[in-house]
Symmetry: C3
Subunit: 682 residues, 3 copies
């Protein structure tokens, strides 16, 4: 029986379900037949069948090919494409084409284009150049969405609505006069009175007191930095403006095609928070994500694992869809590294291990023209007789062999890393003590250290119930809501082990520093009072009394009850305490006042999990990526070998990839992935 | 009897005096009570008294809190603040709040905002965003200044007018159409005829001949570099436009409150010449300066000493006011290094040793909101129970113990370094042979080398009488007025030892190269004729016959009478002369045609002062900073130990800091400062 | 009998000749008397005679000095200058002064100024700020050109028209609305139908379908990269717009002064293709080029040799004019290195060896004012008693001694490197797999390796007949026209040895990738099919089975008939083939799938020329630059020693520089140049 997906979308009754996007795993990619003559379509479909493709995203940038002039629609080619796909058993995630408005629309209404902070309006020729606050854009966008929904709502190939594309990627901020009015209305709804806004942002600083909402401009280019509270709210407004656009499209689609699930592709990755995906996750029927590895990172798989765990966290732990990734190189990095042999499968299966119920590539056939002509694809310029296409076919076969895994969930972890888009926005809003501080690096470093040990980790937004966790890590969560801080405190007192790193819990929701000693939101819980930051210079490091090495940052702090477990032995703070451990009820709160370097962090993490009695997902060689998915009828252990040598994992069961049977241990070849149907569930 | 300050302001009769800003040393900081509820004010005043605060700068950015709407003034809070301060014996330097116009004014009159070289007008949200050429801004600014003067002119707390803030920091250049008209008028006053302008700037180059002044635009963005003469005059015009604004405010204040001295805070530091402070120094009643150390400079105290000496030079050798510096980290550097233990006192006392009669911090209480929320302060976010506040209290106590020093002057040096803002402006106006040339590096390097030996140095503008000096150094003084060059020549002939380094004395007042061989203004004096510059590449160096090493620069030069004391032995100029010494009357002029590296410069400087028979301020360990202040009734030796080891200085007297008595020698602890009331004056 | 120059200009009947610019070699420089009082002119002419100057470029930026107000001409000074020069036997290349419009014109018509991609219009104060699509500019420019031609067309000093200056240097792109209309017309002429444009550019990508030409904007700033086909055509349009301006000036000059040859100064150097000089070369009566060495390149003479060979290639192998180079440092590099002793002569004579029949310097007398006051010149700021002037005088004497060489041509090479401006434009139009790819580096690296061995190389545009060559190198010729590819194939089959490096022959004329396996245009010829690019990261390298080392780039490729001569032994492609050799008819095609590092390239090139039986121009020490010019009555061997040690070359004849006779071998002193009139022609 095909599984169903349960929507969390706030516009539906709780528990509403839809048919799953595909039987088993969704597999395929973005398909742009409009770029090719129809004879190529037949070859495409033949190759899709060869590769076991179940799902394609169609129409993502096709507005100009569908609405060929104002109100004039040409659906002929799209009719034929959908029919052809359906005839071949391939499901369609149909995109609303609003990511790229047609040229005729931009010529008639250039006012829909974004304006930058210095007043420059972007020109045609790119994508996502539109302002989400443009009323004219909204009107045209909803008209084409409705036309599309009416035309294809009952087409048998249709499985999912793919609203627009990467909302916020290029249009995350707009500074136009029309946007300014929307921004002022947003502020008025948020603060009700201008006095409340002045108080929240502390506008007495520089005497920037507002007397009406109409006086509040977007943070356009000024001679100096803008107010941090204003900057943060503008980030939130900008995310909300994009979300409102999504919701407007959703409203049309829901009305016309209530039976079809709706999503939009997120960009949960190393660019923190172009949108507050935590909020967005409550408005989609299934979380869908785009992910691209950075070729310059020799351990890009570590970032992939972190991003996939973040995506699962945002998806409330439920299955999600990897709706875009690449078969090999992208075209927007300085030097676009290609994937080595087997890396395609390791990447796709790592996402699946961490909760994805599908793996789609951008894109099916490599464009010969256009800005992305050197972006890899399933069918390269060189055709199907290529490493890339063969590896896609092999992956398709693996996905069929492991189809039973679809619909299961990634095993719950005992370690949580807290991650917040809103905090990331606060951190980048206004000058900070060091350019080396950001929301990702420390969290990712802890995730890498844990993953290397085979420890499962959930990455969750602050406020997520922590009951199921033994260890929680708060790493550069600059802004921590008061309720989340209280929850963390309660959980610690109930026996949790909390780890906090610098620059966490410093500000309130308006980006104002909590005074009285850092970190204001966690000071009492930690039993620590930080009085002054001592950022380290580039290349500078400090040595601790336990032999650890810190970099990036140090702090002058005192215990306010916590035990001092290590002190600085070098630098300006030699002799001062560096690491603290506070016993809180049945639990403990550990505070690190510096960033430990990777080797020291590995030692710290090993002690931490040992102390908490947390075991790996499965015993195995270090570095072997180990993840378990659990379903109603069993469990599957994914073991991914990113190294050049065979690696061993404790397992008993059948490796569905090779058909080999493991009896206590399995050797995974260099570069290979095993998916073991476990006989004894973990 | 409290000392008085003697004004050099050109709008007063010579010799006019005012009461000193404080009895003893002025001590305190910028105080922004408008950012805090009134209950905090009481704690502030209590802590001020604890720290021995005498003086606070109030109202710097408070326009929007005072003039809450067009012509509507709310003085209530400021009345209460001034009364409270006065009741507690704390004097007020009251700022005119014109550095940050209110939002309502910017909304009503956006035309007062600066326009950049590409035509972008800055938006609200920053500070100092206004154009000094804006008539509308001037009108509103003078109205609020007058209102403030009328209100508080006779308030007993008022000690000093602090006009606006860091004029030119963000608004050093404006390219608006209104500015263009002011610029054209300025040029017409300067040149009288357009023919004179064409001749001065050499506009025949590229055929850019002007036929009316109305044709001369500001140096807006063009496809190539603008004319160097135009660029230099635009720097001068921009400084004059800011000065004219200052003078307009002063006129109002002088009229309403003739009994109150007036100043504005300069920014004499590593950013050369946003304004020609040499000129400005004749328009203030006391020179006041802001200074912030660069955390990335491991010997930032050397730059501090140089800047303090520059400030004293601009203040005609008389006491000046350190009106802003920081207790610890700032927030605008990439990595904002905090000050280590004792560094606060070493920094403040180094300024005082070099002539400051006060040390005020930006700011009193660390803001919780606004762009400067991470700038250090006297009362940090963590409160008064902090290293920083305790060190401020200790410093306050020291200042009381050395209060007798106030009103004295720094001992006259026998070495002068010439430094010119106008020359710095000329140097940055137009393409030069090497990006490594600038007005500061060589002068600072000589200052460091001399300071390390304990030699006192004055840093003075060209044109300053040199009679009192034995050695004068002209280091990258690109533009040297003819009269100054003549004065240097006369002084040399009378027995002085002159040192000149490359790229000095090259151009006339219009930034035109003096032809016939470099350096045109000093060629005859030096007995050297430079025919061609040989800039060195990055990382390149040359070795001289005396073992010295040069970098940055070299030159093909011949003696025209001078003795050749060293030659190049490597590089393209191997075999050519490098260092020259010309006997001139009773003196000598030395020309270095390369930049000596630090070690070579140390040797050169040691020989130089030995040759001139110049002794250290006091014998002592190298690196121990030694400065003497001399008053009517005695002298005080400051000895500042920036190192990690105790250091010794020759001294006889009482160390007012510790109360210890020195009898021939004093050991200054690592990181400590001694202020010795000398028994035998030097 | 003075030689004559044969024009290739398409507006003349084939074979039209003009008198040569000078008897023997043209020698002199840009002369700007308008910057100096008339008494200086007399000294100038005296020094010109001393130096043997034959030719000066006059009036290049003098529009504002000639047309002093709208329609008001002041020719007096120019009359006197031309008369003075003529009286002294100095010929004049008279510039049309259109490179720098007068200030009065820019004030009256600011709309002639360029607009950048974000809509910023450049301001006055620079040069070449005008848009070639401005009708107003065109009208004013042609009026002054006609006035000049009428005034001086029959002046006896006039030898050559120098149209404007470095067209495209600062005004290579304009994005104004007026330009947009010109662009749309250009596209309409190119494509006839909008459907053809859509097909060519692949506008279905992102749905950017155009329905009228009026919809196509210039590639102004957009949120993402613009379409690569559009970008490439905009480069072509921009070059054509400049060429059209040149042609419009030429039309006026040809009409008024049909007896005077016409040219404009190209900038064939390291900035690839601001204009398509291949096309331009058919519109000038003699190719004239500007060349400036980069001081940061320790082997700048290698780049000079390459650029000179490119210029000769563009000049159809015939004599050309080095119309600008420098005596020493320029003023636009970060650190402007001066030329060492003898470098001036080595540089000038290297150009002459490679086909220049003249060597002119920018500029005669160093400006005291203006943006170029620190650009070197023939008469430096220091005057004539300088290294530079003496070296110019020496060079003038050498040119007289070798005057017999003028009119001869550089000996035909047996090795050709293909270089295409249009391909360079395609390569920079749109995102590519690696930022390390460019059109110059590989071609220059091969040229250096060959030159070091003393092998003569021609650098020719694709499509040049290759019959005379034994070896041809296609290095990063990204876009190779189909006819050129066919010609290369035919030539290879006829016995040629072809070397192809990566990223050559990838796209069609519309910048669309040729599918089916790279390199589409050469795949069959090479017997290789590349399926995927593996760009290397910064600092990464790969080792090949023959010991070679590759960097920048690698590829996954298979033989489709070619022999594999080396394989990768490291990196992601270990075990895969790296170098291929395909036997084609009587010839062979070699494909390198990586960039060989310099040492490996030296070995490769040595094998290559040995295999092809190609000998050096003359046997000699490695690194000694060797070039032969051949005339009707003999041959001359240039031997240029860039090193610090004497070097030997096989030669028999008289060294015209020293008068020494060589009998089988000549030792060229360190830094010296020999020009040997050969007794036995090579």
């Amino acid at each position: 029986m095909p599984s169903r997906l349960t929507s969390h979308s706030s516009d539906l009754r709780p528990g509403t379900t839809f048919p799953a996007v595909a039987d088993g795993f969704a597999f395929g990619g973005d398909y742009s037949p409009e770029q090719w003559p129809e004879e190529v379509w037949r070859e495409d479909v033949r190759l899709m069948r060869e590769a076991g493709v179940t799902s394609v995203n169609v129409g993502v940038f096709s507005w100009g090919c569908i609405e060929v002039a104002d109100g004039v629609f040409d659906f002929g080619w799209l009719d034929r494409v959908l029919d052809l796909l359906h005839e071949n058993g391939i499901g369609v995630n149909l995109a609303t084409p609003t990511a790229a408005p047609p040229i005729w629309l931009l010529r008639a209404h250039p006012e829909i284009l974004l304006v930058g902070p210095t007043g420059v309006r972007v020109s045609q020729g790119g994508r996502l150049g539109w302002s989400p606050s443009s009323a004219v854009f909204r009107r045209y966008a909803l008209r084409v969405v409705e036309a599309l929904a009416l035309r294809y709502g009952s087409h048998p190939a249709l499985r999912l609505w793919h609203v627009s594309n990467e909302l916020g990627n290029e249009n995350n901020h707009c500074y136009s006069d029309e946007t300014a009015v929307a921004w002022q209305h947003w502020l008025e709804r948020r603060f009700t009175s201008i006095e409340a806004l002045n108080e929240a942002w502390g506008t007495a600083f520089w005497g920037h007191v507002y007397t009406t909402f109409e006086q509040v401009e977007p943070p356009r280019f000024a001679a100096t930095s803008q107010n941090p509270g204003l900057l943060l709210d503008f980030e939130r407004f900008s995310s909300d403006a994009l979300l409102a656009h999504y919701e407007a499209e959703r409203e049309v689609l829901r009305r016309v095609t209530p039976q079809i699930p709706i999503t939009t592709n997120f960009m949960i990755q190393n660019h923190p928070g172009v949108a507050d995906y935590g909020r967005w996750s409550h408005e989609v029927d299934i979380v869908a994500n785009d992910h691209y590895t950075m070729g310059s990172d020799p351990e890009g798989f570590g970032e992939l694992a972190f991003s996939a765990d973040r995506t699962r966290g945002i998806a409330h732990g439920e299955p999600w869809l990897l709706i875009e990734h690449s078969t090999s190189a992208v075209n927007w990095q300085p030097r676009n590294r290609a994937k080595g042999r087997g890396e395609l499968a390791r990447n796709s299966l790592a996402h699946i291990a961490r909760g994805a119920d599908g793996a789609l590539f951008f894109q099916w056939r490599q464009s010969s023209a256009g800005s992305e002509q050197y972006h890899s694809s399933v069918v390269p310029h060189a055709g199907a007789d290529t490493k890339v296409f063969r590896e896609v076919v092999e992956l398709g076969a693996v996905l069929e062999r492991i189809a039973e895994v679809a619909g299961s969930v990634t095993e719950a972890a005992r370690v949580a890393i807290l991650f917040s888009d809103d905090s990331a926005a606060a951190l980048r809003s206004g000058p900070k003590p060091s350019v080396d501080l950001n929301s990702l690096d420390e969290a990712l470093a802890f995730h890498r250290a844990l993953t290397r040990l085979g420890i499962a980790v959930d990455v969750v937004p602050p406020g997520t119930p922590l009951d199921r966790y033994d260890v929680a890590i708060v790493a550069t969560v600059y802004s921590l809501p008061e309720t989340a801080a209280e929850q963390v405190a309660d959980w610690t007192a109930a026996g949790g082990t909390l780890v906090v790193t610098p620059f966490s819990g410093l500000v309130d929701e308006h980006n104002r520093v909590l005074t009285g000693g850092y970190p204001g939101a966690l000071r009492e819980l930690l039993g620590v009072r930080v009085e002054e930051f001592f950022p380290l210079l580039e290349g500078e490091s400090v040595v601790l009394s336990d032999g650890s090495v810190g970099f990036i940052w140090s702090e002058l702090a005192q215990s306010a009850g916590a035990e001092i477990t290590a002190s600085y032995t070098s630098g300006a703070l030699a002799g001062e305490p560096a690491v603290f451990r506070n016993t809180v009820g049945d639990g403990a709160a550990i505070y690190l006042s510096t960033h430990l370097d990777p080797a020291s962090k590995a030692v710290f993490v090993e002690d931490l999990v040992r102390g908490a009695g947390i075991e790996p997902v499965a015993a195995g060689d270090p570095g072997l990526e180990r993840v378990r998915r659990i379903g109603a009828n069993g469990s599957w252990l994914f073991a991914i070998n990113h190294g050049d040598e065979p690696a061993s994992v404790a397992a008993t069961g059948i490796d569905l990839v090779t058909g080999d049977r493991a009896d206590g241990a399995l050797v995974v070849a260099a570069g290979a992935v095993a998916v073991i149907r476990e006989e004894v569930s973990a």
